[in-house]
């Protein structure tokens, strides 16, 4: 079995009846261990909904999400909590994703405590130090409040928090699009480094084709809730088959 995550015929529908929105339609794809899988498309195409369904922030309406041999699409309670240790998420907005009234290190200690990792606060604090070093931050900074950090630093903190549970898959929902270009490159390098050192796989959701071309191994193009094209990143971007992919590429000046 060479697949870490395998999604089949996944549907996400918001609402009921006439007002319902079919955000994700019959989507099928897989991610291998240690692979960076890109998901591109314009805003509103359902790529974020798909990411949220994979991490189970949104309940899928139908279909299966197979993770390491278990169907996680309908997990609840304790089993869902265990799944949280395998798959984590980094959000687009580094300003909103940290609790403003909590020291960033305390937020991570809190997560470790909930998952009973480490025996006491001392051990958990030591783990926070390790995590901060792993994402390239000064360990002393862990005991500060979020408003004292820049956007790039905050995104590093978010990544450290996501790594606290030692996941195998990280859903990165536009992780760099809120950052300055120079900072974007640093964060992308960090993600590459983590992939290499921890065999971490990524579901990399983005609208930025240049970024996707740089970091992803394989890519899926989403349009109107459906995957219209999927393949190795070089094939898809250099030799697009689907009309929508061509349009998407034409819209980017550098391609």
């Amino acid at each position: 079995m060479d697949k870490l995550l395998s999604v089949e015929m996944l549907n996400v529908v918001y609402g009921k009846g006439k007002d319902s929105v079919h955000a994700v339609k019959d989507v099928t794809f897989y991610i291998k261990p240690g692979e960076i899988f890109g998901l591109v498309g314009e805003s509103g195409c359902g790529k974020s909904s798909l990411g949220k369904a994979v991490i189970r922030l949104t309940d899928p309406t139908s279909g299966t999400i197979d993770f390491n041999g278990t169907d996680v699409a309908s997990l609840k309670g304790k089993a869902l909590k265990t799944y949280r240790q395998e798959v984590q998420m980094v959000f687009q907005d580094p300003y909103g994703s940290l609790n403003p009234r909590m020291k960033v290190g305390s937020a991570i200690v809190d997560v470790l405590q909930v998952h009973k990792i480490g025996n006491n606060t001392m051990e958990r604090r030591a783990r926070v130090t390790e995590l901060f070093e792993a994402v390239g931050l000064e360990p002393d900074w862990a005991w500060r409040y979020p408003h004292e950090f820049s956007g790039g630093q905050r995104q590093r903190i978010c990544i450290a928090r996501a790594l606290a549970l030692n996941p195998d898959l990280l859903v990165a929902d536009e992780p760099v699009s809120a950052l300055d270009v120079s900072v974007q490159a640093e964060i992308l390098q960090l993600l590459e480094k983590l992939r290499a050192s921890r065999q971490l796989a990524f579901l990399f959701v983005s609208h930025d084709l240049a970024v996707v071309r740089n970091v992803c191994d394989r890519v899926a193009v989403m349009y109107n809730g459906e995957i219209v094209e999927m393949g190795n990143v070089a094939d898809v971007i250099d030799n697009p088959q689907h009309e929508y992919t061509r349009k998407l590429l034409e819209a980017v000046p550098s391609f």
Binding site: L57, M89, L98, N99, V114
Partner: protein, 293 residues
């Protein structure tokens, strides 16, 4: 990046310090608080010694004395010192303000958090509950509760005010929690496997604590005012020098020129209510999270 870690409360305090009126009101609130503590000590002292306190001893020889160097605020119809009774009134006002808050605030916060966080049926039920409470005329409802409490006196006042004034806070907390629930940090907390209780009370609640503090400083004087009205109507405090009772007894002789008891009690009530309200407003500005960063 700042070098020293500074708390958000520190920022709020700096902003509050710049507001002179707020600092004056804070001084007044501290002054009243000290008076209340002093009043409690005096009350306990006479209770332990098991003698009648001077402020409740009748001495008809000196009834209705105008303010003088011996009785700064004069004496009332039974010859009791108005100033000493006024201080005891502060004690009762504080007890009412604090104890009713300890009843109303937890109810409002817990129900508001549950309604805002879970939504759906839980929300429907809590909204129905507080709408029902809010639809009844406040004072009548308070009087009804106070009447059915067997032990007439302060307990009825506490329960009456405490059980009816949580609605406003509940609404505010519900709205704030709904707002925060959609924020990414709550989504992240969910994705990290944190439980609902922990997210509500450890993560969201500190972010809306300013609402609770402001509500406390605004409902405190309201509770004091309600107690005065209840005592004035004869349903609240009995046998203790509440401001309401003092106003009630003073009104009888006001037309004969015995102005001092009414005047000083009214001034004290006015200052206490005003100080808390202005301080509450200033706190609301100082703690506004939009001004942070």
């Amino acid at each position: 990046m700042k070098n020293k870690s500074q708390s958000l409360w520190g920022d709020a305090w700096r902003r509050l310090k710049k507001n002179r009126l707020a600092m004056f009101c804070l001084g007044l609130v501290i002054f009243f608080t000290l008076l209340a503590v002093y009043g409690e000590i005096v009350y306990r002292y006479y209770e332990i010694k098991d003698v009648a306190s001077p402020y409740s001893l009748t001495n008809l020889d000196i009834a209705y004395e105008a303010p003088s160097s011996r009785h700064w605020m004069g004496t009332d119809g039974l010859g009791r010192d108005v100033m000493a009774r006024l201080v005891q009134g502060v004690r009762i006002a504080y007890k009412v303000g604090i104890i009713t808050s300890m009843i109303a605030i937890p109810i409002g916060v817990i129900l508001g958090c549950l309604a805002g966080f879970f939504g759906g049926k839980v929300d429907d039920f809590i909204v129905w509950l507080y709408s029902t409470f809010a639809s009844m005329p406040g004072l009548l409802f308070i009087l009804a509760i106070a009447m059915v409490v067997p032990d007439q006196g302060l307990l009825g006042v506490y329960l009456g005010i405490g059980l009816t004034t949580w609605v406003g806070l509940c609404r505010l907390v519900r709205g704030e929690v709904m707002k925060h629930k959609e924020q990414t940090y709550v989504q992240a907390a969910k994705a990290l496997g944190l439980g609902s209780g922990r997210i509500m009370f450890k993560h969201i609640l500190p972010n809306i604590s300013h609402v609770i503090i402001v509500t406390f400083s605004l409902r405190f004087p309201a509770a004091v005012g309600t107690e005065v009205i209840m005592s004035f109507l004869g349903i609240g405090v009995q046998g203790e020098p509440s401001w309401g009772l003092m106003i009630d007894s003073a009104r009888m002789r006001l037309w004969q020129g015995m102005w001092w008891e009414m005047t000083f009690v009214t001034i004290a009530l006015f200052l206490l209510v005003l100080a808390f309200n202005l301080l509450g407003d200033a706190l609301r500005d100082a703690l506004d999270p939009r001004l942070n960063d």
